[in-house]
Symmetry: C2
Subunit: 237 residues, 2 copies
Amino acid sequence: MSRLLDLIRSGRGRVIVAIDDPLITLSKFKELVMKTKDAVSGFKLGLPYILSYGLDNIKSVITDFRDTYYIADLKLADIDVVMSLTTKVVCRVGFNGVIAHGFVGLKGGLDGLKSVCDELGVDLYIVTSMSHLGSTETYDLVIDKVLSVVEGLRPTGVIAPATRPEVIRRVRNYLGRTYLILSPGVGAQGATPGSAICAGADLEIVGRAITSSQDFVKASEEVIKSQLKYLEVSRCY
Amino acid sequence: MSRLLDLIRSGRGRVIVAIDDPLITLSKFKELVMKTKDAVSGFKLGLPYILSYGLDNIKSVITDFRDTYYIADLKLADIDVVMSLTTKVVCRVGFNGVIAHGFVGLKGGLDGLKSVCDELGVDLYIVTSMSHLGSTETYDLVIDKVLSVVEGLRPTGVIAPATRPEVIRRVRNYLGRTYLILSPGVGAQGATPGSAICAGADLEIVGRAITSSQDFVKASEEVIKSQLKYLEVSRCY
């Protein structure tokens, strides 16, 4: 069972903090983890952040705070050999999970990556659709195909956009309760905290609403409070 | 006009060398560039390689050999904000081009990335389909949509798989001669040197067939010779 599920069940807030912008200095990142790790379920580091600071620096923070959960959000979308090499490289520094795109398909793609994740004991999350408008032009046209890829692959979880709750509902209806659904797009991208969970997600991914705040603790508490309030007053999935 | 087109027109071989595996040490990478840069049109560095050695080390090689062309092959596939941040970070070290997935779509995705590439003077290449079998399950189902995304975006070029020459022909027929077509999958992945160019590509991307060789010069010369021979005896696009 995923360590992430353990953390949720232990009562951490249903929030993953997304860290993408290199303007968040390493010491700010460290402060963010230290101050919010007991309130939220984990941290998702984006490609610009990882590239900008380099794996050794990221490792030093992860090593200092092992009692949380770290996802390398490289949005892997390549042939099996390349995605597997990448995963081996990033997971050496202590990441617990990686994210890859469902549109890559299985054969010679995600199937090889899944084997490597299983060997390494790393969780795999598959993007089923994205939060921006462009995603409706392409990704959404093959969402059923992507979901059948997910069923063939059996990853730890999937990614579905908070900005389009109807997509979350569709993903949850299709996949049932077998997979975790992580949902980005809450806060700066427009979705209200709680709305994605209400539509069927397990966790909401929140970036700038927390990372741009002067007070990380207050900002993350506010997001969690807003989630609870939303769930209290809404008829949810 | 792209610097890459200048290099092709100056008579360099129609090969881009792909460097993905961290087993290629930095000094091997440096040797590879030094010895083959006048024979081939450029170098494409994959995500596992860039992550493994870090941007500062990559920069030191690029800075030493400026008279060629470097593509950061991160297969970008995220929202505009994240792809733009990533491109700003990698292009600071001297890359001339980046690769992103057409699957992402325009609005809130590739359109924002294109603006940043234009600001930075960096070439953008869009993946239209991939070389592995899994790509036929998903990507190929929306290839016309992806090609309309390319037309809306007007990047420097596109990526189409050498392992499936019928896809290259389709891409070339759809897009005409406006865009460069770069084609991966030659060598280790199975396509014969010259076959992708014959189908309509401008350049073939060759990785392991050159990078795994004990003699980089000989291996790249052999690929270029094979290309010319293939083109001589075949009825090409």
